[in-house]
Symmetry: C2
């Protein structure tokens, strides 16, 4: 199909499609003539994925590019899937294999200058890499909450973490064994399912506020 | 303090501060002379909140404006806090008080043309308003997942929802009784805690993947 037909199929304007081609987030079509290219179903699918990552996932185009390159050439074994996926999303290498804490007992004192998030992670005993780029993200978001007067202390953070562990268990259980499919699932799923969870949280707040009770406790 | 000192205190450039003043997300300082104004601690706090909502929460400035107006003049009773807060965040009125489903038993057939999210919400029995703006958000994010090859069926959605109910219970329990504080907590907390939860989810995925087990089941 021509680029105008690709535009009709996806609802994305021709100038935007040309921008995607220039930025490399859309692969070139087959040359039909000196000025025309031929696009197929793979282009329709790619444009839809780019739109979803931008509009639903809120990613910028540079991150979309990293995500797509990762999906296409994931030279990783199964264990590296999460690290490679995080790198695609956060733009930082995850090289240090040291874990903050490997056991479920409180660990040693955190190194000097460690942020509140890292100290809390150690106390909780989560197995995460010391230089995981999500740690400074957590630190920043936590500080923003405190600065804004949201009383997010360690107790409330632990309550959130208990619930998020359940979410992560669903995430990890749904990752396919095949590496290429796994990276796609983790990278795209992390972004798009965040949007699902954000909408679910707003709806669940209404439900809990109206009915006056949360889920059955398992304490 | 002068605007240059407000800039030093907050790390936000003078041109950006002037932009905030023009856009109305920062209240004017007291006039000191024809060309100078005097800023105080309330301006420092406001600039920090705007930065947090933009940088950590990912809001655009129009939404920040709605959030701030809502925080400042929440003419609502306690029950209306969530509706007003959602309106501030999503920019749509929540007027229809009809609930999708008020009981925990499966409800009647959804109206014709209802999206998958609405049908699923009915089956789940969550008490949410029929025109809740989070429903189309959920619909769109769910469709984006399916289009991108993320196998997010009703079973997996229910597993996520079980976990998110726990998050919402923590959210609702932390809302103060006083309406003005409540609106602030809900509006700002929804945005900034979403960022906390997103970072937590990435870390929890690592933990679950490394340790090979999720939280203790309460099934």
């Amino acid at each position: 199909m021509r680029i105008s037909e690709l535009s009709d199929s996806t609802g994305v304007s021709v100038p935007t499609l040309k921008f995607y081609l220039r930025e490399g987030v859309l692969h070139p079509g087959a040359s039909r003539s000196r000025t025309q290219s031929d696009y197929d179903a793979s282009h329709v699918e790619r444009v839809r994925l780019v739109r979803a990552l931008v509009e639903v996932g809120g990613l910028d185009l540079a991150t979309v590019g990293r995500v797509l390159r990762t999906i296409e050439a994931p030279e990783v074994d199964r264990l590296g899937v999460l690290a490679v996926s995080q790198q695609a999303l956060l733009g930082e290498p995850v090289t240090d294999q040291t874990c903050v804490e490997q056991t479920s007992t409180p660990g040693p004192q955190p190194r000097e200058g460690a942020g509140r998030a890292e100290r809390w992670l150690r106390a909780r005993g989560w197995s995460v890499q010391e230089r995981d780029p999500a740690i400074p993200l957590l630190d920043r978001a936590w500080r923003a909450c405190e600065d804004a007067g949201i009383g997010l202390d360690e107790t409330r953070m632990d309550q959130y973490a208990d619930a998020v562990e359940r979410i992560a268990a669903v995430d990890v259980a749904s990752v396919p064994a095949e590496p290429l499919a796994a990276v796609r699932q983790v990278v795209v799923g992390t972004v798009l399912v965040d949007a699902v969870l954000s909408a679910l949280r707003k709806l669940a707040q209404q439900h809990v506020a109206v009915t006056g009770h949360g889920p059955v406790s398992d304490a």
